[in-house]
Symmetry: none
Subunit: 186 residues, 4 copies
């Protein structure tokens, strides 16, 4: 029973990891279930013992990704304690981006078309609503005019940063992030 459970989870992990890699490399649509199965070293049919469909597999990948984000935002490393909310947010975003580059490549690659990802985005927004509130609060406290618009610009900039990091090799994300942080210092 326990062995079975373990085997099951191991298989699922293998599938999810392989799928994520391939999805991020070739795109969701361009990756066939057969290819995933082959690369994962399992049979085609096994996928369907655990996931009702290809989309379900995508959903699971997203669920895990979202979970990782949540965890990552919850555990603030000690050295970041004294940072401003914005600096911490940027640093954390960059960290997550680097750690889960595959996942974010997948997300950014399909978010314009996929309903799944749009649903996920909405959910993640809810999760990180607290962070957003902090950011906005921070902008207000800094006496910055138009804090609402300013927040929009902030998120757009950070998103663009992510996009370019995912799109270009050797993008100096840390340096550009530092520059962005400086814009909001004092």
């Amino acid at each position: 029973m326990k062995v079975t459970q373990e085997k099951r989870e191991q298989s699922i992990n293998t599938m999810v990891d392989t799928a994520l890699t391939l999805f991020s490399e070739q795109g969701y649509d361009a990756t066939s279930i057969r290819t995933i199965a082959q690369r994962a070293g399992i049979s085609l049919g096994l996928m369907y013992n655990y996931f009702k469909s290809k989309e379900e597999l995508l959903v699971e990948i997203c669920r895990r990704g979202a979970s990782d984000v949540r965890v990552s935002f919850e555990q603030v490393s000690p050295e970041w304690q004294k940072m401003s909310a914005i600096e911490r947010h940027i640093r954390q975003t960059v960290k997550i981006l680097k750690e889960k580059k595959d996942f974010w490549k997948l997300i950014h690659g399909i978010r314009m078309q996929s309903e799944v990802v749009q649903r996920l985005s909405a959910e993640m927004k809810e999760q990180t609503a607290y962070v957003e509130t902090q950011i906005r609060q921070n902008l207000i406290e800094a006496g910055i005019p138009f804090p609402e618009l300013e927040a929009k610009l902030y998120f757009a900039s950070l998103d663009g940063l992510a996009q370019h990091y995912l799109l270009h090799d050797n993008y100096p994300i840390d340096d550009v992030a530092t520059l962005l942080i400086m814009k909001y210092k004092r």
Copy 2:
């Protein structure tokens, strides 16, 4: 002969326009040639008289899009004469974005996976290299440190702005753009 030529061009225009609309609505992969032909009111086979393949059609769409960008950047409206290079660049970008929303939705929707679009991006970069130089020059002249990085941040921010405009309904792009411009005033 000339009439024929005109009919030909008109057919092509219809095809390209219809394809662009559908691509931006449903995505490139999810749109079939048959659907395009039906919506364009022409026969399936005719598409292949004008375009060697579906990808060729995409290429043509991109060519036209790139051309529009070039034209748009060349003709500077009089009222923008006295703007700074950056302000002008942002305003023009926003203008192009609004005018060709379909096109940009398509581009942003597939640029992460499609080689075609990556090639196009490279080409467009070459086209707009002059603009980029101007921007960088402008940053330098403004005495801003790290002009290279600063340019990267600038383009990332503008790209993020575009992304959010394309992604969200009723995005107040003009206001956010104004805010971005203000960052570079003086």
Copy 3:
């Protein structure tokens, strides 16, 4: 244009005929589209140019079958003019059964499970409602008690006859039909 139209119809006829034969031999579920295509000498994909799905093909077969029934019931051969409504109905039913044995084998083979066929049955009932009225009227005029129940028994008997004819080789349907007719003489 006309040629195209003809080719189209010819292809469709071939498909429908082949499908009907195979469906009646092996059953609807057990017959694959691939098999139909092979036997019809056409490519697999062509089916889907004309029929949205396997079920749609079944629907078309049923439509044609129902149409045949309607036509058959409309044209009463001269020698049947003087028959009673019931005798004529039985004779016509037997005639249709023999002429379209394939079709009826298919129908009787799947009517217990298939919604398609149940819908069709309902439609055909509407078509032949007039006949049913005639039968019932006839039973009433013959002074038979419980005409409603009697009509039910009549249709059940006729249906059972059909069933056994379709199920057993060399079933003497004409003789049994004659016997049934005699039950309702005078």
Copy 4:
């Protein structure tokens, strides 16, 4: 040991009952072994410890159904003693039909295609040959002409009755059966 034997039989009973229910609801082909196992609350693999295949399971269901028929025909309730052979046969048939509606729905649903059921039908004919002889004898004694054909018509009518009872909700089978019986009175 005996306990084991009992458990075994109980498991088998559960499987057979569940399978019968599902087969009659959705049809034999449309019901998967996995679904049966889930609904029966046993594991997928266990089915194959008791039945070599899905068809074997069908065979067992049919065996039991046939056995029930035999038993039912053997035990004649006292009140039916004085009925004619035909009246008794019809009443018994209706009784069996009602008691095992699931089973008969399954049988009637697949008998046109399934070899299994055709084999079973043949076997059941042998089993009930005695009854048939009685019926035929009865028809002869009643001085009815063409007793062979008459027997065929009789069985067809009864079969049609069954078919309509299985096919339509609230079918007044008792009343129609009574009417059929009356046809053979005296």
